[in-house]
Symmetry: C2
Subunit: 902 residues, 2 copies
């Protein structure tokens, strides 16, 4: 005979935490806790195999199930010394669903099962609390009616409100036991009227109906949809947990509470929680009564408190992680209702992980696994002061929530243009730059702002990429905004429907970790890690946080296998990245270098040149600047490889479009205004992302590539003579066809040989390409005939694989993620789309290595700093990931996770 | 002993035309012609295996080669009754390279091989022409020096010019025999000076050096590049053809000429060609002497002419195709030097094909194979009158050559805006609309213009697609233009470097078949097929051209296997397409319907709506228009499937941007101007091709899809009640994720059921999607869970696979095709990129049919009407191709080719 029912109680559970597939997450954990000696209210779990049977056999049950349930009930009765349905000494149950993975949409809890007019007097005798009994019973009828039978909740409410009016009661608690008894009788009538049958008084019938409802809810559309969206497959079904009811509201020796085994905000090793005497769980969270500090339980119920401290120890020892637990004390007896790994802040995660290892509770490997890679960001940015933030929330100052595009908290005056931002900062103000979208014209304003807020654009829009690169908090794609540049104001439609208008100079605050925007100022606090590591304004020994950070990063570096590089365009960024642990540069964007005040004019001269000769003359002027840039970076990256990408963006990005900027160029270069306007017109493209950029520029103007290759290799030769271990990698962007790369190679290689002769020194270098056009991945075998390395540009690759412009797709990608639409669960620009983009990545690796087995492969798109994507890159066999300097620690931890999960 | 040398002569060739791999194309054909009794000058071919051996054995030859060459020379000597190197009766050879495929970049011809001071007297005796002898010898030294030894040609020219000056000669022919003899001696000295060795006088040495040079040229960079670009692989190498020299310039009974077996311009079955007495081949083509009509040879050399007419018969019977032949008469003996399939116009191809079948020369299958599918276009458009065109060329009126984006010839006054075009046409003028690029705002002007010329944009830019759809000649991406809207003028930089300025009202002509643009008018003539088939202005029995057209199309339809549908948006286009042979509609673009005068205002109202309710109200007004459109199309397509695509383009395309258009909308809808400007701003996207369009619109505004589905299915129900056999297919564009399609399906299917109830009739329909985003192809297995058919949108798919905006990529795609760049051999928007885009197409078919084996698959991008792409579609197993109405005959012929090639 198959086993369908698993008992737990009396110190022994028939299951364990490993049996989630059969018993569901909840059931497995109840059995586990019972077995390790925790005082769990006894009960039993009906396995997921029954659910499977139910659907395969036309909604019927295995014949042996009945007997097994009866036997399990008998065992519970024995442990509890009470009987289910017994008028003298009644036992009550709760019934809950529970699959292997938590799953909204399925049937929720039914409590107080077993109550009826026969068992209530016994309950009253046991508790001495008539009001409690009838109140529990009316809740049961309500819950059973709505949860099990689908009777709409408002019917019960109407009856309740009617009675309150009749007796002149203001709130629920005004009703007497007698009135509650009357309410129960009215509820029963209501039930019978709508369901067409009397309310089932027989406890066993109550139980079987409830079990039936749980299994039936497995196929409810909302549950099916949830599984589809979250790609949950391969489950047999849900399990059903039937557990003894315990009552924290039986009187002054009863109570209930929730607790963390450590402080989840700071990570401090103290017991942390709150409780209420004579109360049920929902009273603690409802906020009607103010809960008390958990330590005060020591004076109220010293024995139970001591017992609870033991439970805390047992749980941490057993689960090797901070636990979040619920308990109830029923007439002086402690019961543990639930435990789970506790959610914690990034700060706390680091402290807890380090201290648990020090305490001998966990190994470094186990500790590392408990750290969310993204959590390290909390240690590296300014954050809102927790109290100030809580206050802002309480005051309803939250304006909107959009994409968390650049981490960190910022507070400042609203400003709508880059020029104005500069002016206001120069006059001593702090500003938040608010734009519909940003462009390279706004860079100077972005640099001086505390934070950046955009109306359009996604996780890899210009604003987001630049913000992360320069470490400025950014909230992007905030479609609730309506910016009116003309009136220097913006409207924000708040969640509550109200519209707030903000003018230049009004203060807002934004949190780039949560994507939230607030009205008014919120105090922020600096990062200790940054103060020690970068600013040097604090000493390592003064900061426990810094020490924890170092410890974790040491472990992560020890375990990880895939390399972690950084995307950096300046010696300063390169230096920071090395301090954060980068092992090289995966992407230097040379175009950013052209925006400097001292060189943009030459760049514009180059673009406005009318023939190759004048273009070469302008390039000649840019060469020394580029060479100096590379010399600086090579020096900072001594011993590490440095990948430098040739010019990528369309040339129009360098041509001024605004009156003021044009005037500046006219003044600097002497080029007439009409010529600049004509060039802007000539270079205008309908879809610049798919236009004349990347390698296409180098094919049409080979002299640009020539100048850049010369700058890179001359710089390399010069620093090598200084004794620097230089490892340049020349990277050609946007290659979709081998011929493009071959064309450049034929220019570059002979030129480099010539430079070696001129410089009288040789430098090892690699010549490679970005794979960011789908065709580059598809023809990777051909491309690898020329390329010595591939670097995946997954921003562009995602853009083209999906056909989503990263500057325009923000709003509809957000729409796709809405629950009622449910097409995306994550933004493919944030987390790599393994099914689509990932297919091309794998194909390219496979085909590329077929041609060149030792092909070096990395990623330098924004995904290189996103934990799930980093793990993907490790799984598919890349040599390294590369990300912005501040994401390096995130990538290192994710890389360690990837190795530990192998 | 292996055979390396293949003899031909005396009526027998050791090879045949099937042996191209071994003997090269030229060698195989020489052997073949010899065997069928044509008087080919005897000779021999050294096989490609020798070339292979040469490269595998360090540039040496098989030991047996020497003997085989000697034997072959002896056989030639025997046939000719002369001896190689004999002073009395000398034999001379030509040496030519010849691989299996014609290949520029390899060594060219060396003539007169065997001449030296010993053999020349014999030659003089034989010909009695001393001047001819020394002239031939100096040519040989020059050719051998430059072609075989790589001595630069200008050295010889300098010596020649020096001598001419000395003797006071104006032109070459002024030199006497004696002076030419002196020239030969100076050439020999020049040769010795530069090569470092005396000129080889020994004929056998001359021959071996020449053979060596041919084999050496196989690996010349230019030849290697040519093979790489043209993807020529798998060849062993080149062969070498050594053939007896014959001289058409031996005197008055000698001559030379070229001829076609039929008229290549009209296809008429007459012998067509020209000749010169006492001349060599190069004299016929050089234009110094005016050649005579071939028929006149009948009076000059009646026997040879009769012989030539026999050759004509023999060739056509044997090759079963029109032949283009070269002949030489040496002292009254006719020699055939070469024959190949003749190039012909589209007209001629049809006439020749039909008549050859009628004459019993070919089968319909053979005839069809000889027709270039694109050639049918010549029968369907206006063409320049050949004489007028020749005159324009002679006058140097060609301005530029760009993309042949819409076939046909046009002549008219230059105009720079759509509004102005309309005005001028209304005042009775014919115009050619010239724009930097076109947009939907220009449609009204495009409709009234004779031709369209754009400065930017590729083969699938807006201008090109619309032009082909409406049948207007179009030349696109003409980067030599510089349009100045402000001054209503444009500059054109001509090939010769001159810049021409054209103003509004100046006349230009353009040829959309060749992509050429001319200054001034060129007369055009209408298409007889169109006059019969569409306009009804001519009767079928009056037009032989039409009858030929019908015959060929009948055969093609009989043989082809893949279906051919059309892209049509109106009942009129649908009707035309059926007349052209379409078997259904593969794409109806519903957006084009919204541009009508009577409905664009409602469309704009819909877009400017501020909430779902007002949007629905506007949609309600559009519904009857759409329904009527579909009713019209369904009626025209009775019995055929009709695929209708829901709204695809970004909404901003419907919002006016120009002052005048905005004013019109304000007047029509009463919507204030500020609101329109705000909407334009709100809908603006940086990369609209990758923006909010296609299925993304339907997901964010499901009410649009609802209205369209309702219009389609109500129309279907209505016509079915009329007795029409209606087969609607609802197509959702731009799907990259199954979830998108599922979202729309969940709206559409219940709605359709409701419509069936309302209409009290049911209609079979299909629900499917376009595959045009790379991710759609990659996840085709998932998408096919929902889609009942796929239609490949290869315009967008190419755009995203390559990352090339079809509106912006024209200029650099043209650059990529330049010979010195050599990255592309064809524009991937014109001919499907099999390696990249084709991979995704095949992947999608494979994965889609894995999920749904009976998945119906077609293509509706512009490639659907391009012959090579049609063949690709047939090979990969698509059910149909769909193209614009006028491309339907092209696709049908290509489809027949695909079936015949199977």
């Amino acid at each position: 005979m198959s086993k369908f029912v698993y008992f737990f109680g009396g110190g022994k559970g028939e299951g364990s935490k490993e049996m989630k597939a059969l018993l569901g997450g909840k059931g497995a954990n109840l059995a586990e806790m019972t077995s390790i000696g925790l005082p769990v209210p006894p009960g039993f779990t009906i396995s997921t195999e029954v659910c499977d049977y139910y659907y395969k056999h036309d909604n019927t049950y295995p014949p042996e199930l009945d007997t097994q349930i009866d036997e399990a009930i008998a065992r519970v009765e024995k442990v509890m010394g009470r009987k289910f349905g017994d008028p003298e000494n009644p036992l009550f149950f709760s019934v809950r669903s529970g699959a292997a993975q938590s799953m909204p949409g399925m049937m929720d809890t039914v409590l107080n099962l077993g109550m009826n007019e026969e068992t209530l007097p016994g309950f009253i005798r046991l508790t001495g609390n008539e009001r409690l009994a009838w109140d529990s019973y009316r809740r049961f009828i309500n819950m059973f009616g709505s949860v099990v039978m689908g009777l709409e909740h408002h019917h019960f409410e109407e009856v309740f409100d009617g009675l309150k009016k009749e007796v002149g009661a203001e709130v629920d608690t005004d009703l007497t036991a007698e009135q509650l008894k009357e309410l129960c009788s009215r509820y029963s009538a209501l039930y019978e009227k709508h369901v067409g049958k009397p309310f089932p008084r027989e406890p066993r019938m109550q139980l079987l109906h409830s079990v039936d409802a749980v299994f039936g809810s497995w196929m409810k559309p909302s549950a099916v949809t949830y599984r589809r969206i979250n790609r949950i497959t391969g489950l047999l079904g849900t399990a059903v947990n039937v557990q003894t009811m315990v009552f924290g509201n039986m009187g002054e020796t009863s109570g209930t509470g929730v607790a963390f085994t450590r402080d989840p905000a700071t990570g401090e090793n103290v017991f942390y929680g709150e409780f209420l005497m004579n109360a049920q769980g929902e009273d603690v969270v409802s906020g009607i009564r103010t809960p008390r500090e958990i330590s005060e339980l020591g004076s109220e119920m010293p024995d139970n408190y001591k017992q609870l401290l033991d439970v805390r120890q047992t749980l941490e020892k057993h689960y090797k992680d901070i636990q979040d637990l619920e308990f109830t004390i029923e007439n002086g007896t402690l019961f543990i209702l639930q435990t789970r790994n506790g959610k914690r802040t990034g700060f706390a995660a680091f402290r807890i992980a380090v201290e648990m290892v020090e305490e001998g509770l966990t190994t470094p490997q186990e500790a590392l696994k408990q750290i969310e890679p993204d959590g390290v960001t909390h240690l590296l940015v300014r954050l809102f002061e927790p109290k100030a933030l809580a206050e802002a929330r309480k005051e309803g100052r939250r304006l909107a929530k959009a994409l968390n595009a650049g981490p960190g908290a910022a507070s400042g005056e609203v400003v709508f243009s880059a020029d104005r931002a500069e002016e206001m900062v120069n006059s001593g103000k702090k500003v938040v730059l608010c734009r519909t979208e940003t462009s390279p014209d706004d860079i100077h304003g972005m640099h001086v702002s505390e934070g950046i807020l955009t109306q359009r654009g996604g996780m890899t829009s210009h604003a987001a990429v630049v913000a992360r690169q320069i470490g400025t908090p950014c909230v992007a794609g905030c479609s609730e905004l309506d910016i009116d540049y003309g009136n220097l104001s913006m409207k924000v439609k708040k969640d509550d429907g109200r519209t707030v208008t903000l003018k230049e100079g009004d203060v807002i605050s934004l949190d780039g970790i949560t994507g939230e925007v607030f009205e008014g100022p919120i105090a922020t606090m600096p990062s200790e890690v940054i103060q020690v590591l970068i600013d040097g304004t604090m000493k390592a020994e003064e900061s426990k946080t810094y020490q924890n950070y170092v410890k974790i990063m040491e472990w992560a570096n020890e375990f990880k296998k895939i390399g972690v590089r950084t995307n950096a365009d300046t010696p300063r960024d390169s230096d920071y990245a090395v301090r954060f642990g980068a092992e090289g540069i995966g992407l230097t964007r040379t175009e950013h270098m052209f925006f400097g005040e001292d060189r943009i004019a030459f760049m514009q001269e180059m673009i406005l040149a009318e023939n190759e000769e004048t273009r070469r003359a302008a390039l000649e002027k840019l060469l020394p600047f580029q060479r100096e840039d590379f010399i600086g970076i090579f020096r900072a990256m001594d011993g590490y490889p440095v990948t430098i990408r040739t010019l990528d963006p369309p040339l129009h990005e360098f041509v001024p479009h605004e009156e003021k900027a044009i005037a500046r160029v006219v003044e600097k270069t002497g080029i007439p205004k009409e010529k600049i306007l004509a060039a802007a017109e000539r270079l205008h493209e309908l879809n610049p992302m798919l236009g004349h950029r990347g390698v296409r520029l180098s094919v049409t103007y080979p002299e640009i590539a020539e100048m850049q290759v010369r700058a890179i290799m001359e710089a390399a030769c010069i620093v090598k003579k200084e004794g620097i271990d230089v490892k340049p990698e020349i990277m050609i962007p946007l290659v979709g066809h081998r011929g493009e790369l071959r064309f450049i190679e034929k220019i570059a290689r002979p030129l480099i040989e010539k430079i070696f002769e001129e410089q009288e020194i040789k430098v090892d270098y690699l010549f490679g390409t970005m794979i960011e056009v789908p065709r580059g991945a598809i023809t990777a075998d051909k491309v690898a005939e020329v390329a010595e390395f591939f670097s995946y540009g997954t921003n562009d690759l995602t853009q083209m694989t999906y056909g989503f412009s990263r500057d325009d797709a923000g709003p509809f990608i957000q729409h796709y993620q809405k629950k009622e639409v449910g097409i995306f669960d994550t933004d493919p620009f944030a987390v790599i789309d393994e099914e689509g983009v990932g297919f091309l990545v794998k194909l390219g690796i496979e085909r590329g290595r077929k041609t060149r087995p030792d092909l070096k492969i990395g990623i330098c798109g924004e995904h290189g700093g996103e934990p799930n994507s980093v793990k993907f890159c490790a799984r598919v066999g890349m040599n390294y990931v590369s990300c912005s300097p501040r994401r390096v620690p995130v990538a290192i931890i994710a890389a360690a996770h990837a190795a530990l999960e192998e």
